[in-house]
């Protein structure tokens, strides 16, 4: 059991899903509230990262962050090392790849809030941002939980991007998913199964906690 990889993975997934909460909410807010007629193009663009095979996306990210790209060189001149093959690089790659899993459910939930409540809030002197914070967000918890858990779980299992951008360096960028992959490749099935099982159980517990805390009320009404 490679606990180092576990700990790294959980850190990565938590960080990515929390950052996606932070940057996904404003993007989704814009998508849900803008009346720009070409908005649907932006919506389509948000979903694009996931249509590429993850290793290929990872390849492009690698090239973009690597020591031969301007971005990579700028970062290197700043920090002394490239973004690729670091934990920060993993975070960037995973963020890009999991973005749609956060943004799309958020936007769907925001758009479903009863507009009459937004009107009421404005008439009570609350600015759009306050209204968003005090009415839209609390009434969108199901969508927020969905986006959060999808991006969290997806980052746990993320493999292609992480492998490419991270380079599978123990303790720095070797996540559980790569670890399991390595074992399977190596025909160490027993230890692969064991690691996969532990990953599944821990993920299950984490997800169950999230869903349990944010218990859906169950549609009220005569659903018998």
């Amino acid at each position: 059991m490679n606990w180092e990889a576990f700990w790294l993975t959980v850190r990565l997934a938590s960080l990515v899903s929390v950052v996606l909460l932070v940057i996904g909410i404003p993007i989704a807010y814009w998508i849900a509230s803008s009346r720009w007629r070409w908005k649907f193009l932006v919506e389509a663009a948000v979903a694009l990262p996931i249509v590429l095979p993850p290793t290929v996306l990872g390849f492009y990210v690698l090239v973009a962050l690597g020591s031969r790209s301007p971005l990579g060189r700028w970062w290197e001149s700043l920090t002394g090392h490239t973004l690729a093959f670091t934990f920060e690089g993993l975070v960037i790659g995973s963020l890009l790849y999991s973005l749609p899993f956060a943004v799309q459910p958020f936007a769907a939930a925001f758009g479903a809030v009863d507009p009459r409540l937004l009107r009421a809030s404005a008439s009570l002197g609350q600015s759009p941002v306050q209204t968003f914070r005090r009415v839209v967000i609390p009434l969108s918890t199901a969508g927020l939980v969905t986006g959060f858990t999808l991006s969290f779980a997806h980052t746990l299992g993320e493999f292609g991007v992480v492998l490419m951008v991270g380079g599978n360096i123990p303790g720095v960028t070797r996540t559980v998913s790569i670890d399991i992959y390595d074992r399977v490749q190596d025909a160490q099935y027993a230890s692969a199964n064991q690691t996969a099982l532990v990953l599944l159980v821990i993920s299950f517990v984490l997800l169950a906690i999230v869903y349990g805390v944010n218990r859906r009320a169950g549609m009220v009404g005569p659903w018998r």
Partner: protein, 380 residues
């Protein structure tokens, strides 16, 4: 409600007049709805009255800033809120106008108390709590404070919505049928509360209602809307009790409205004689500019008609018509008598006391007494 002696929010002491001059169209295949109104509302109650679909809610939405007019000007206490020329359009949340929406729109995720405290973000937690508690008590709903809107009754929701708006001490108040779901005692006590509020704050209050009772209980001024236009405006006693339009008479609940033909004018006493419908029944009415033979409509309130069991003498009333009681019906706290006079049926309201005194019953012969000035000539 008890009025706070030291409000933390400055009450605007300037003459706060609301001026509204707007146009707004809703195009529909079956015909465009066209709102076009111009009025001023001074501090105090102004009642918006009118049939369903007349445009009352649209007017309030425009003033609150929740709907953009197509054109016009809205100003409150000298400040331009909307001006299609000057391209000014203050957003709703900066207008400081309280608005109780027709469909309430309580926040489903907040308790009653949190709903009421929602607009008080500028205060500290303690102050917010104190103010909303006080307001909840004033509306007798403090026992609901921990409950969500889904767990309270319709009338309770309406009171929460009212409290939520009033607690913000707005510069003007828009109330869209705020008492519709309330029982009578609760309604009267809230009417009392609102009157006191009005005396304290002296801000313009636009109040939409379908209840003639509320018009008289609250209204210093009433504006009657019909199909997006103002068709009458003034004090309730003029507008509602002496309507010039048939539609207004109907809204005000005029029980007797007849077709009539002008027979002759009497310049000397400023009256004219009209024949009602096909009945051979003549009424003396106030004079209007109408030629003999022209068609008019006459409205008479059931409460303006007297019944007598003996032929009355020495009365100033010029219309004294013999008839027979067709039937008597109980109404809330009164009696409706339907009297047939030469083919025309009059509804007459009597107190229970009067029925006893005259020992009226179905079939009895009576005289119907109508003053000239109780006959209102109506335009269609």
């Amino acid at each position: 409600m008890e009025v706070r002696t030291a409000p933390a929010l400055a009450v605007p002491q300037t003459s706060s007049e609301l001026e509204v001059r707007i146009r707004k169209r809703f195009p529909h295949p079956e015909g465009t709805f066209h709102l076009h109104v111009h009025f001023r509302a001074l501090a105090g109650f102004t009642i918006l009255f009118g049939a369903s679909g007349a445009g009352k809610t649209t007017v309030l939405d425009c003033i609150a800033g929740l709907t953009d007019p197509d054109q016009g000007r809205i100003a409150l206490g000298g400040e331009q809120l909307y001006d299609s020329d000057g391209k000014r359009n203050v957003p709703a949340w900066k207008r400081h106008i309280g608005y109780v929406l027709q469909d309430l729109a309580l926040f489903p995720h907040l308790t009653a108390e949190e709903n009421v405290a929602y607009g008080l973000r500028q205060f500290g937690a303690a102050e917010r709590r104190a103010r909303s508690r006080e307001m909840l008590e004033a509306f007798r709903i403090d026992r609901l404070r921990e409950r969500r809107p889904a767990q309270i009754s319709g009338g309770e929701r309406q009171r929460v919505a009212l409290a939520r708006t009033l607690v913000t001490e707005p510069r003007a108040l828009l109330l869209d049928e705020p008492l519709a779901a309330l029982d009578r005692p609760t309604r009267s006590s809230i009417v009392e509360d609102l009157r006191r509020w009005n005396q304290r704050y002296r801000i313009p209050i636009l109040f939409v209602t379908h209840s003639v009772e509320e018009v008289f209980a609250l209204g210093e001024e009433v504006i009657v809307l019909e199909a997006g236009k103002i068709v009458a405006q003034g004090q309730p006693r003029d507008v509602i009790d002496a309507p010039r339009l048939e539609t207004v008479a109907q809204l005000a609940g005029f029980e007797n409205i007849f077709d009539a033909t002008v027979l002759a004018g009497h310049e000397d006493r400023g009256t004219m004689t009209c024949r009602i419908g096909t009945a051979s029944l003549d009424l003396e009415t106030p004079m209007i500019r109408a030629e003999a033979g022209s068609q008019v409509r006459i409205g008479i309130r059931a409460g303006d008609i007297m019944l007598a069991t003996e032929s009355p003498r020495g009365l100033s009333a010029r219309n004294i018509l013999p008839g027979a009681i067709q039937k008597l019906e109980s109404r809330a706290g009164m009696i409706s008598a339907f009297v047939n006079c030469s083919g025309a049926e009059f509804e007459v309201h009597l107190t229970l006391a009067a029925r006893e005194a005259l020992s009226l019953s179905s079939g009895k012969n009576v005289w119907v007494v109508i003053k000239t000035h109780s006959c209102h000539l109506l335009r269609q």
